[in-house]
Symmetry: D2
Subunit: 458 residues, 4 copies
């Protein structure tokens, strides 16, 4: 435990929030109730309270505040939370920062709802439509789906640990997006997840926009490592990464990809795999890859990798803009007009991209065992959108081997994953991964030299 750790005890009530809970919900959430729900809420709450801190190591945080407790009370004015030994950084002169308070109650809302939904016969997680319906319900319950609002939610993907120059660049891009009255959606942590929101906040202030949206989509497994930044004014906790990715592409109207590591590559391949599906070929979906001048080599390499593996058809789904925030924003604004036009003509909702076909293979979790990794079909023998799906799984496994508890353990026990495939796919993959290592985009949280968790076998 860090000796400088400061804690505080406090009571917070929602301010102007509509959240009300039933007696049974209060009971479930109490430590004495169904233990799981309490543990889940406690862990999310701790991550949210840790907003101001700089550690991205979930384990460290959880260990540092082992004596943290959160209790829930029913009161005259609704629910009140009692925090014991909470991180002091979430408070200003003893009072909790409003955004933190809001996010605590968002977490409460989502955890209660997810629990409740899982007991519903209506939810059918066995079918693709059922999963999509579930994602819709989670977002609707969080009041994220606003009927009648024109397409303007721009998703920003990229690394949570980037260079200062790259961070500043994301702020500038966010500023230009904000000047065009666009909203921002990210994975809600630091780095690329924060910069665009900060830039947009200043721009929205200049444009006198009061309802600018900074939507953060997260999941219980990642929230501790990537604590929501306090600009986020809508926080939604989806149950797992697949639901979260689907929420990004169905609630977002366009996507900007900034530099990042294996996780960003995974997201990019997920997106391309969906956009390349034959059923989706008419659906406009603006995608821009961008970064500052210093990131040009990175962008080129990623582009080359896509060309070499998925071909020109895949490259047509995005544009690359180097060091030009105004141009990024213009391209995005232009692309959103096409989205609006298309949804209007096809009677699809502005607030949820129903028409986008997402195959079950993208909706179901991939379990990165050594066997599954070795069995991935990384070959031109499968259609390009399936190859994209398989490449995405490969990166997913690498992320797990790098940072996830279970993956790390597997690697420790059985050595690096082996990845097989066509040589003209394996070589570019190897080069890309090598470049990530060289650019320190794969470094471990601790800062040790990177020891690859995979071995590419052509």
């Amino acid at each position: 435990m860090a000796p400088s750790r400061q804690v505080i005890n406090a009571q917070v009530s929602p301010k102007g929030s509509l959240e009300t809970l039933s007696q049974r919900e209060v009971q479930q959430l109490s430590a004495a109730g169904s233990g799981n729900l309490y543990q889940l809420f406690r862990q999310c709450a701790l991550a949210i309270l840790n907003t101001g801190a700089h550690s991205d190591n979930a384990k460290t945080i959880l260990e540092a505040y082992q004596d943290f407790e959160i209790r829930i009370h029913q009161q005259d004015r609704g629910v009140r939370l009692e925090l014991i030994n909470a991180p002091a950084d979430a408070f200003v002169d003893g009072e909790m920062i409003a955004s933190t308070r809001e996010m605590l109650f968002s977490a409460l809302r989502d955890i209660v709802y997810t629990e409740s939904e899982q007991s519903s016969l209506r939810i059918d997680l066995e079918s693709s439509e059922g999963i999509t319906d579930y994602v819709f319900h989670l977002l609707r319950n969080a009041r994220t789906l606003r009927a009648g609002v024109e397409p303007k939610m721009v998703v920003c993907w990229g690394g949570h640990s980037i260079s200062t120059e790259e961070y500043k660049y994301t702020k500038k891009v966010g500023h230009e997006l904000g000047l065009r009255s666009l909203d921002i959606c990210t994975g809600c942590g630091p780095g690329v997840m924060k910069g665009p929101m900060k830039g947009a906040t200043i721009a929205h202030a200049k444009q006198r926009l009061q309802g600018g949206r900074y939507l953060g989509l997260t999941e219980p497994g990642i929230i501790a490592a990537e604590a929501p930044n306090p600009i986020v004014n809508e926080l939604v906790i989806l149950p797992d990464i697949e639901k979260r990715l689907e929420a990004f592409v169905r609630a977002g109207h366009g996507i900007i990809i900034f530099p990042g590591g294996a996780g960003t590559a995974e997201e990019f391949l997920y997106l391309l795999g969906i956009l390349m599906h034959p059923d989706n070929q008419d659906i406009p979906f603006p995608v821009v890859l961008t970064g500052p001048q210093s990131a040009a080599p990175y962008l080129e390499q990623l582009h080359a990798f896509i060309g070499a593996t998925l071909g020109e058809a895949a490259q047509r789904h995005y544009q690359i803009v180097v060091n030009d925030p105004v141009e990024v924003a213009r391209q995005m604004a232009q692309g959103l007009k096409a989205v609006k036009q298309f949804r209007r003509e096809r009677h699809d909702a502005f607030h949820f991209n129903w028409l986008l076909r997402i195959e079950e293979s993208f909706q179901r979790p991939f379990d990165p065992t050594h066997a599954n990794m070795a069995a991935l079909q990384l070959t031109h023998a499968v259609p390009p959108h399936e190859l994209a799906a398989n490449l995405r799984r490969a990166f997913s496994g690498i992320v797990a081997g790098n940072v996830k508890a279970k993956g790390i353990q597997l690697i420790e026990e059985r050595g690096p994953y082996e990845i097989h495939g066509d040589p003209d796919i394996m070589r570019p993959l190897d080069r890309l991964l090598q470049a990530f290592v060289e650019q320190h985009r794969m470094k471990l949280p601790g800062g040790a030299a990177y020891e690859p968790c995979y071995r590419v076998v052509s």
Copy 2:
């Protein structure tokens, strides 16, 4: 079909509403979908569209607009309703009145939610707690439960078909309540359900209150006969009369009872039965019986009946105020202060009266067969709050025999109900019912002379 019937075709979208529907919900609501849901929605919609009309005969309305259809479409800006052969009264120069539009989408919301909840394993309609939890969820989904708002929701009960003098009096009482910034909740039809809302609207305008609430609680079985008046700005459709009554006493903070017929007596006995329960004796719940000077004999008779059957203890639960709207409002405002104080001390929510004990006998439907009516224990041998429950059932049966399809049929087949009990209960009951008849409070919709559907046997 009436020759003067005017119809209109129109398309309406929610304005500023948050309602969004999933594809599956849209499908369920379409005529081609699960037929029941469509029929239920069509019937509620027709009742809502009939707001301006004066008939309270559900059957008449349904027959007059047999060719009415309502279709639901998914669109870019959310859901759109298409109405075919809709009653023209709901429109002003071809445009639908905003309150009507709002209520259509409220009906949509409640029907979709009720359907969805019924498939949830979470809902336990077998236990008292489960039923209460269900009512809570229905109200919460309708955004009726607002955390942090101080107790000020005044329920007004009474007849929907009253004299002009009585109607004016309810407006005056509503005006005085509104001047004191109190909100109004009624069964949302005409008569007593409209007057207080109208008076409060004017008073809220004088007090410059923008968010005055006019909450209407109804049920599918009654909405056609008592079409929501257009002042209602929050409409909730509960699935049946028991849920609706529970919603009244849990969401309302005080109750005013104006003159009415057997239905009003039923509500009054329901309320007394609950308040007299030993567990509830400490819970403050302001109840005022009131009417204009001309209604004084009615009020006295009702009071005497309570005294004779349930005793002085029951009479202590309410006050009688004759012809004095200011005094009614003052008593209510005073009573609400006690409610606030109590909820604060006991940590009960302002927005939902969790502490009020409602026994299962009040939560379960009473089936008014001849056998059930004859078996009612109307005797001092049972505790007073159970006697109140049984008297309530007796009135419930009489209402059914008077106006409900199934009850009317039973009476036609088997003659009037027989009601048995202690003579000192039966005599006052007989006198009260006789008085209702004489005061034309039991007259049938058609206006024919009243033929009693019951026979009191002491």
Copy 3:
């Protein structure tokens, strides 16, 4: 002093108002300051506080509350008013009704501003343009002129003392106007000045309109006799009747004339005189004369009088609608569309009718001495719009002789006014006045039989 008079002492602060005063303004308004300003404010305040009362006799009110005082204090949160011996009707359970409080601060604002403007060299009351500019500044300072709002302010003129049937009719017309999202402007007293506002309030609630405007234009000389009704949510006190009439026709977009007495006839002739001016012939200005069935003879007589004196050309400036509120509202809504179209084409402001030419003869007070009355040119030798101006003056004199202190005294001293003119003008005038007397539209406040203050001499 009436024995039943109830008084109250209270302190009120503006709620959410923007009013702030300089130290000098506070000083001027104090009793010890410039006495005139204090007296003016005290008198207006007393009228406003008297809202709930039914007397329309200014003198009576002023006498009943001789010991009423109003003090103004500078405080941390702005200005606070201290009321001593104020009429108790303005309070609900000891707290002032919000609309009354708002109006007190509106009066403060207008009195301070008028005083300040009168010391400005910028104001030129010698020229027609200067007077119009002054009216503009008074309305702008009262925040009555809202840029960008489409034409929808409907002025309602008519008597403040009308029959119950006529009053109910004005409510219905207001309701239909409100359903069409139109706003209401009146002279802000009772009768016709209240009914349409009340009807519109209910209709605006049904249409979920939050910012419905109920604009009352009054003057210090009349406010005591016609206390602002509490529905008024914008009160402006213009310095005299001519400024007030100009404010009506420049800020209003259409006018409805309900039955009234000599005052209403004066307003009607003022309006016709302006609309008949050759410079105004292209300017659309919807005018509707209306009343319930019982008022049909009144409307016909007025119409005939206009035809007989000002001719068919004058009659083309208005429409008559008998007993049909829906038709009145439709005609008005239709007319307002033309107004909008015209202002757009001619670049005239929606919020102020700059293009309307109002001659100085309409802007300057008419002093109803016997000499001036006798000298009125009521002859076809003058152009019709001047004849209208002169007829308006004749009615103005009659109003003065009926109810204004100075006029009454003149009549007492020198007998009735003599009015001369062409016989074919004098005869209809005589008939009209006679009809007013018979219909009790000229009865004195006290209720005594009407003794004419004029003599028509053909």
Copy 4:
């Protein structure tokens, strides 16, 4: 003219603004009208449109856009501005940034009002009370004075051209102020005038504050050199520096002084001169001098100078905080509590510091001729608050000699000013000025080596 200069033609209307103009006002503002008003408006408009640019040289800007024109039109929806050859930086994809548009209409409002007031007999610029009254009216007309709002307007003074480290520090301080829900007021240009507003914007977003105020007070003579930064959401143009300084100390509740040059010293001495006046000794007015670690020597030197010249009594009016934004914000928040308490007790308005005594010597312009500069009594023979006033004048002259057209010309013609005084005042003054030169706080806009415009003579 710069070759890269980009211009745009555009039409703008106020959005949601309440501004309406009379025909006469429109006429006055047109180029054909009273030329002075047009020139003044054109110059302010150009400065506002130049917001995005980095030059602080007013002359450069005016010359670069010699063909810029601004025309004003009356239209249906109010006033519309037509811009010809306007700087393109004020637009995003052809549409004007909302804050710029708002500021244009603020300038319009203030210029029209100032012109109108100057023709008012009410305004008495000959007396101290009259000048204060005038400042009050200017601020009130700009809706800057909000009754009922608790003291939280923090004025930030300092240089407009500071180091990056100092700029970042001002952002951090603004962030901490914003986290404590405090508002920011500055001279509305770049540097210290922008940093705190930017930091507060992010903090207000975190605290979910919607109405955060960023008040910029400027004057026609300086606006071109210090174009309002686009965060400013309330812009007020005061007629000259003395009115502007008075506006700062009467509308602000506390003052933070960041590093700056002679201008900042002038402001600091102005403030001390007022606070040291015997009449003001009970009035709480929190003042904090602060800067990052690198500015510590600057702060110490300034502090030493105050001690040496005005003594310990002067030093007691402020606190020095080095490199601790949290402490600055806490001190300020603490000080504001005392301000609130004091105003409440003494019935002084929260929104305007009436009780603060400002002598005429502070309210009247100082004309920095060589004679006036030489005659300044910089001696302990005068009371300390007068000495402060005289020192302020000395700095005012130095600022003029450095950057103002008239001052520069005087220096060119007659050589540097001579400043006389007691040796123990002259020596510290000389040292301070020398330090400013060494720290590049007196460098000329062009960047040339600084040639002192004064000569200290002990």
